[in-house]
């Protein structure tokens, strides 16, 4: 530290973040005409930088079109960025194979009906993920009895104890399907879970159950979260820090309680005002 310059960074922040996003840019082409030619571009992310420490929980809020889902997909490597760097513990994501990344970062989506292959039984849906994880760890895939035991343990984790492994996703309610989607993500034993609108397609009484499950799992598995939502109230439950996105940029970032108590950006205030009065 040089004299005269106070370094306000705490030692914890000086350590490498688990996940860092540096100046992420994403551009989507606009197609038009009968030949679907590229007639323009839409910048979806205009240089987003964020850091998530191990064990932390970052909320990303913003309305549709703000780029928050695109950012989540880039973190999970479902989409490639057009610029900037994604770093895992300081190492660029390109150094990791697809599988290595999948064993670190998993994503849970808004609509569990769409994210779970309806043709696969639980045994196949979850078993595939368990087998992938075994391969990453340099082990052979477990035998059937052992695998079934592990799958049941996984179902226990998400509150679906005793669900038959021969069952298919459509045999479950939407809340149970979201639990299955979470179980499948956990089967890879990730360290970071990106949850994109994890409760917004669910019934009200089920939303609280899934939010509670996510809170439990974070503690039990020592997970790190990125929670993406348009709903500030949902994010305020799960995230210790929050980034507010608008038009592809982060307009405000800080501790959740501080941002909610004293928003600095007018757009954050707009989002706060959008929460119905009786839920404030």
């Amino acid at each position: 530290m040089t004299p005269g310059r106070r370094d306000t960074e705490t030692p914890g922040n000086l350590k490498t973040a688990m996940l860092s996003l540096e100046n992420i840019v994403k551009i989507f082409p606009v197609e038009g005409g009968i030949l679907r030619r590229k007639i323009g571009i839409v910048p979806a992310l205009k240089g987003v930088s964020l850091r998530v420490p191990a064990g932390g929980s970052l909320g990303i809020v913003g309305e549709s079109g703000s780029g928050k889902t695109t950012l989540g997909k880039i973190v999970a490597r479902h989409l490639a960025a057009d610029g900037g760097r994604v770093l895992w513990e300081g190492r660029p994501h390109e150094e990791f194979s697809r599988r290595e990344w999948a064993s670190r970062v998993q994503m849970v989506f808004q609509d569990p009906a769409a994210s779970l292959n309806p043709k696969l039984s639980l045994r196949v849906l979850l078993g595939e993920a368990v087998a992938v994880r075994a391969q990453i760890d340099g082990q052979k895939g477990p035998r059937r009895a052992e695998r079934d035991r592990r799958l049941q343990a996984l179902l226990d984790e998400v509150g679906l104890s005793g669900a038959p492994l021969d069952a298919y996703p459509h045999q479950f309610s939407s809340g149970q399907r979201q639990r299955l989607a979470i179980a499948r993500a956990l089967a890879l034993r990730p360290r970071l879970l990106v949850a994109d609108e994890p409760v917004s397609s669910l019934d009200l009484s089920v939303q609280a159950q899934i939010l509670n499950l996510l809170m439990d799992l974070k503690d039990r598995w020592g997970l790190t979260y990125i929670v993406i939502s348009h709903d500030l109230a949902v994010v305020s439950r799960l995230a210790d820090r929050v980034a507010v996105m608008k038009n592809g940029e982060v307009v405000e970032e800080g501790e959740t309680s501080a941002v909610l108590a004293a928003p600095r950006h007018p757009y954050t205030q707009t989002l706060l005002d959008a929460v119905p009065a009786f839920l404030r």
């Binding site: 309305e63 549709s64 079109g65 309610s173 939407s174 019934d203 009200l204 009484s205 089920v206 939303q207 609280a208 159950q209 939010l211 509670n212 809170m215 348009h230 709903d231 500030l232 109230a233 949902v234 305020s236 439950r237 210790d240 309680s257 909610l260 706060l272 929460v275 119905p276 009065a277 009786f278 839920l279 404030r280």
Partner: protein, 316 residues
Amino acid sequence: MSDLLTIRSLSVHYRRRDGDVKAVRSVSLDVRAGETLGLAGESGCGKSTLAMAIPRLLPQPPAEYAGGKIVFEGRDLISLSSEELRQIRGAGIGVVFQDPFSALNPVLTVGEQIKEAFSAHVRPCPPGTVEDLLSRVRLPDAVRIARGYPHQLSGGQRQRAVIALAIALGPRLLIADEPTTALDVTLQGGILDLLDGLKKEMGLGVLLVSHNIGLLSERADRLAVMYAGEIVEVGPAGQVLAGAFHPYTRGLLASLPRLSAGRGKLPTLAGQPPDLRNPPEGCAFRARCPRAIPACGVSPSLGAKEGGRSVACHNP
């Protein structure tokens, strides 16, 4: 305020081989002119069945009216002929559906569909009517929209076109079933503002059905809460939300994440709603209810409380 719509002891069942689903069970409810009645409830509680049963839009079979009355402007809709019903739909009761795409005819322009609504009711559609309607639903550039086909419109524009159709013949009651659920969050406010505006301009009674209590809290004058095919609570929206009587309403409201509450677990409702093929004897919420008493073995009726509120509970 007079009752525009009076529903008394209405039951609607769906015939199924594995047992009839009793989707609406002895519901009584009023909608008054000039008010928005919010109908809240979770999936499968029967709120959409109730909404679509009013203009008799449920296909029969499998739907079956198993008792009760639906009195609209003094006439019981259940006893009307299909020709009389056709006159009331559109001219008396307008309907806005969740999915604006399937509510419009894909091979007709928006303008043609509005004109068709007039001709179906043997009414003249003077020049300028279409454009006037489209501007009333705040669709700018009405001439272009009128010439457009549904697929050429955005989701928000389509829903506005559906609303234009719903109000074309000057109905007194508008039924809106999850009118913004299929739309982007950013468009929802505009559609709800529009419904509010039309309610005031036209003195409409609006039945607004939604799973989203937050939305209803801002748009409904009165709120009715439905559970397992029954109305469990009705009252002025602000009062119900500030101090619900029914344990189900209270449990549901307590489970909602609130901004001020900070971190930590949310209270949840234990258990599942009952199977409506075989609803339980007595109060349908009894098995999940923290306040259940022996009296709950007998079905509670919706009893009046002070301040225009009512609740169906033996031990509120």
